[in-house]
Symmetry: C2
Subunit: 318 residues, 2 copies
Amino acid sequence: MNEFDLIDILTLKPGSRLDVELGVGDDAAIVTPPESSRLAMATDTLVAGIHFFSDAPAYDIAYRSLAVNLSDMAAMGATPAWVTMSLTAPKKTSVKWFREFSNGFRSLLQKHDLQLVGGDLCHGSLSITIQVIGFLPKNIALLRSGAKVGDKIFVSGDIGGAALALKMLSGQMEVSENYKQILYNRFYYPEPQVELGKFLLGYASSAIDISDGLAADLGHILKKSGVGAEVYTNKLPICKGLKAELGTNEACLLAISGGDDYQVCFTVPKELSSEMVRSDPPCPVVEIGEITSSNMLKFIDIDGNILDISSAGYHHFN
Amino acid sequence: MNEFDLIDILTLKPGSRLDVELGVGDDAAIVTPPESSRLAMATDTLVAGIHFFSDAPAYDIAYRSLAVNLSDMAAMGATPAWVTMSLTAPKKTSVKWFREFSNGFRSLLQKHDLQLVGGDLCHGSLSITIQVIGFLPKNIALLRSGAKVGDKIFVSGDIGGAALALKMLSGQMEVSENYKQILYNRFYYPEPQVELGKFLLGYASSAIDISDGLAADLGHILKKSGVGAEVYTNKLPICKGLKAELGTNEACLLAISGGDDYQVCFTVPKELSSEMVRSDPPCPVVEIGEITSSNMLKFIDIDGNILDISSAGYHHFN
C-alpha cells in the first residue's frame, strides 16, 4: 500500500457535518463557521514513549490522542467541530495498525459529532498532532485568567488514576489484578468533559484541563489570574481504589502531582457555586478549596498541615 | 530553561491581528472569523531527515515549514490568517536553536500578516506540524476538481530548482559554486504564492501546489477532475541554470518529477487564459499544456515524443 491508500484508511468515514463544504482530499478543507460565533483553536502533539507507550494498541493511541485535544475545547467551554490530524509513523507500520488507529479515532469523532477535515501522513518516529476547532458564543468563554479572591475551586470526575496507570504501565509499580483494566482505561480513555465545559459557561470564572497535574494546572490559573489558592486535600476526588493501593498520603500526593486525567479544574464565584452544584452538572464536580489573595498555592491536609508539593507537575525540557 | 521559558521564546511577538481575541497562553485561542466568509484549513508536518536536513539552520527550517503550509492556502486561493505550530525537538536542543527557529518563523508570519495563536512543544525527534487557517469568499475557491477538457495548464515561477537543491544538499550531486546559494534558497525559502492564489480566484478552474512534483501533483488535478492532460516539455519554466548543470533532458525530467518548489500548477478555461495573462498576475505564470479527455497525463517533447515518467512523484510508505 502506498501513502494514498493509507490516507484512505485513515480518512474512512470522516464524519458528515453540514458546515464542512470540502473535507479531506484537496490542498485544504473548506468549512463555514456559524454566524456570530467565535472559534476556539487548539493543538496538541502526542509522542510515542512520552505521551503514550509505542506498543499500545493503535486504537487506544488514537483515542487518547483525540481525547486530550478535545479536553482543551472542554476547558474553554467550546463545542468542538472540525479536526485535522497529522500522523507520523515508522515505515514498517502495518496496514492493520493504521486500520485500528483509524477505528479508534473515528469512534471518538462520532461520539462528539466531529469531522476530520484534513491531515498529513509521514514516516518517522511515531507521533500524532491534532488540531481541533470549536465554537464559542459571542461574549463568553472559560479562560485561565478570571479567578477572583473568594471563588470556590472545583474539580470534575476524579484524579490520580491516570498517574498511577502510568506507573503501572511503565513497570514502576505493581497494582492489584482487578484494578489493572480500570487504570488502563484512565490513561488511554480519558473522557473529555465537553458537556461540562459548555455547562460551565454560565458559572465558572476560570477553567483549565488537568494534563500536567492539579498543582501545575491550578498553578496556571493562579498565575494568569494573579491570585493564590488553598486546597483541602481531604476534599480531593481521589480515584477510587487509589488509597487502597498506595495509602492515603501517597494517593493524595499522586492526585495532586500526577497528570493525564484530563478532568477540569475550575473556579466559580462564591455566590454562584451552590446554584451551579444544584443545576445538575453533566458530570460529578467536587469543591476542593478557594481562591485567596496570597499569591501562593497551598495544599492543606485535614490536620491543617501544609503539604510540600515542590516537585509537582510535569515539565518537558527541564 | 524549562518548557515555559522556551514557549516564551517561540511565541515572542506572535503577531497582533484584530480578529485574535485570545492568543497563545490558554487552553485554546479565540478568534473571530469575518462575517460571510468561509475558512480554509490545512496542516502539514515536516520531519527532520525527510522534509529537511536536521543540521540545517533553525531559521531556515522554521521558514520552510511555515512556507509549505502557506502554500496550501495559496493553492486554495485563501488568505491565510491564523497559525498553530507544534514543535517536537530533541531534549538537548540549545536555547539558541529555539531563538533562531522563532526568528525564522516570525519573519514569514510578519510578511503575510499572520498570527501564531497556539501550539505545543514536546521533546522527541525533530518535527514540526503547522496548521493554517485562511479566509475564502462565500462562493469561490481553487479546487483540484474543476479542470475541464480544453482548459489551459499553467505553472507559476519556475520548477526543478528545489529538487536539484535536494540532490546537492544530500551529497548526491556537485553543482557549480555560484549556483549553490541559489539552489539552497529554492529549498529552504520557497515563496508561498498567496497573492497569485487570490488573483486566480477570478480565473482558474483548478489549482494545486507542487510539493511532490509536477507529474504527481498535476496527476491529482486530473484524477479529481476526471480528465487527462498534455504537457509540452519545451514550455516548462525550468529553473534558470538547471539545464547548464544537468543537460536539457535531465533538467526537464527533474522539473517534471522533482518536488519541493511550491509553485502553483493551475488550469484556466481557454476563453479566460489570455485575459488572465494580460491582467498582470502577481508572479510569472507560463502556459505548459492543456487538459484533454484522454484520462492520461502525457509529457511531450519538442519532437513529439512522449516521455516515460513512470517513476515521477514522491510517495511515503512505498
